[in-house]
Symmetry: C2
Subunit: 351 residues, 2 copies
DNA sequence: GATCCAGACTGAATCGATTCAGAAGGGGGC
DNA sequence: GCCCCCTTCTGAATCGATTCAGTCTGGATC
């Protein structure tokens, strides 16, 4: 069997407490005895106090959980998410915390279980759609948590770091509108559950379950509404996933069909890059160029000349970690909105 | 205080054991009683068994640790590492395990402590250079572990999944040599501790501490040695970090100087892309084109037309997870070497 | 020489569950 | 009516540490 603290204590002939102190409170015993204890531990191949037992007794774990609603591997596939995680992990590291990436199954019951079984001191919930399940489970565990979007309904313990999605989206839409575009398509990921790729009948932005997408669509709509372009005049295109391929697939039929829109406003850079892929491929067959915008300003956006909205990804992650690990005394400070900036590149041109 | 299992037991008037059974062994009690218990738990806001306590008693945690020798955020910055992690996390998810990303400080003592304090069932050690510290700490804890490179010295418990670095590197070097290149530079990351960026005096590949880089350099050298080009005839360039910028900086002086090499063989795609950046920038000032090769075949490599060696990143991650979570009975099966393929694109041309 | 004190170490309670041998109760078979 | 078995539930041991209120020892103080 693996040796325990007790075994070390027996070997040296001291009490368990003393061995424990040798590890985590050196001032509580003489240096000489401490040396003897550590020597004996080495002799016995004792690897130091068991982390689980320590966590149980101490009441904290030294890890924060990161929850993703979609497949865990999505976390690593989306460039914006990757940068967010980089910021989060850097800050966590500084606070001596590790990151527990928690797979969140689709099935609500199992998702709940995943939250309930995670040994962590708090949760960072990235990109939650309507996952009240998870939030509810977290609250019940009375753990601190932070989300990357403002909550549906305010909750005392709810901290978040986000951007004003709607206002940010409006700026890019206004830019497109100012270029004279009026026949415009809006592209988003999974705007209704199980919706197929391509044109989607959507009564209003408010019908979209995913809060981020909803906010961005609403912002797009605001800009055009201000110019008298009604929501019903806008084309809504659905992508089945936040990937380049899904973006490309979503717009293919519409862009190569009759009377295509003159601009496509995407809810993410990844989708927008997919649109550019489709345009590049369809190239000669197109009647006229189509303007495209993204959202996030990931690295690839610059290379592709994509007009987009920049949001500070790493900083978002860093602040999320800090909100969790060094919570502000003032509860109002638990709600952080970051600045965004419109980045105009070559993918948008006058209509 | 947060309610415990005991509180639920008291509320219902049954024993602690029965409540425990209600959660994890439903067949051990009548359905009716179980319902009553779960109801009471809901009533009391009991969030279910405490994961830490459960882990302590059960003796396993449901998480595997991922160790990175460099900054944790590097994990998210290097595209190859990201794909590896995606594969790893997917497989872990399938086995019901979470991933604990463990920040590994530079200081050996603290690095050791990080390993000792991580509550995990096993470790995946990515990209370990000479971090015997960490491996030793893991072995002492008697936890299973898997590395992404063959170990220095065989150890019974050591499992790994890797590629034949040396042979793979040789194929790309042979390709370059076949194109007639003889004046060649080899580019790697941190080939000697604290080495400055740029040309490096290196007696032999064997002097490089990082095993992956060492293997690749040796493979490059093999190909040229077979043609009579001695190690001392090759230029060695050091990058201070595995990033595009570091790659660009490492080669800048050499490529724009007198008598530049006709080809640069990099130990990673990221570095190679940096070389391409430098070439693009220096463009007109160059006497003649320089061939460039990378290693890994990340997504950006295809877009950049980079000749490189492809290795199956996701599969590597997947196998690593499986080696940990479903260890093969036959210990020999704990050593997996994956196939690689030379991918020739436009970045290599005849000398 | 009695008193006090600081330093070094110990004992026992505690963290929150799981597990397993066994007790109680009820029903079926003969 | 007796025996046995099965289901349902309980009690107590256990996982491996941390913590805190003491105890003990030896030396300084007056």
């Amino acid at each position: 069997m693996k040796p325990t603290l007790q075994d070390v204590a027996n070997a040296v002939g001291v009490s368990r407490s003393t061995v424990s102190n040798a590890y985590c409170r050196p001032d509580q015993l003489s240096a000489a005895l401490r040396e003897r204890i550590l020597d004996a531990a080495r002799q016995l191949d004792y690897p130091g106090p068991n982390p689980t037992a320590r966590s149980l007794r101490r009441g904290f774990v030294g890890a924060i959980g990161v929850l993703f609603t979609s497949q865990l591997s999505y976390a690593f596939t989306d460039p914006f998410a990757v940068r967010f995680l980089a910021g989060l992990s850097g800050a966590a590291e500084r606070h001596g915390s590790a990151l527990l990436l928690v797979p969140l199954p689709d099935d609500p019951a199992r998702a709940r279980a995943a939250v309930e079984n995670a040994a962590v001191d708090g949760f960072c919930v990235y990109c939650v759609g309507n996952e009240e399940w998870a939030l509810d489970a977290i609250r019940r565990r009375a753990l601190p948590y932070v989300t990357t979007a403002a909550p549906e309904e305010a909750h005392p313990a709810h901290r978040y770091v986000g951007i004003d999605e709607r206002a940010a989206a409006r700026t890019v839409a206004e830019h497109v509108a100012a270029l004279g575009h009026r026949r415009v398509a809006l592209l988003g990921d999974t705007m209704l559950p199980d919706a197929p790729p391509g044109p989607l009948r959507l009564a209003a932005p408010a019908d979209v379950p995913h809060p981020t997408t909803r906010g961005r669509l609403a912002g797009f709509a605001d800009a055009f509404a201000a110019l008298g372009v009604d929501w019903s005049d806008l084309t809504v295109l659905n992508a089945t996933g936040n990937s380049r391929a899904a973006g490309a697939a979503a717009v293919a039929a519409t862009l190569t069909g009759d009377d295509p829109p003159t601009a496509v406003l995407a809810c993410s850079d990844v989708l927008a890059l997919g649109v550019l892929d489709t345009l590049a491929e369809a190239g000669p067959r197109l009647a006229r160029p189509v303007s495209v915008t993204g959202f996030d300003d990931i690295a690839e956006a610059a290379a592709a000349g994509l007009t987009t909205v920049r949001q500070p990804a790493e900083e978002k992650g860093r602040i999320a970690a800090e909100l969790l690990l060094a919570p502000p005394a003032d509860p109002a400070a638990g709600h952080v909105l970051l600045d965004t900036a419109l980045v105009v590149r070559t993918s948008t041109r006058p209509a």
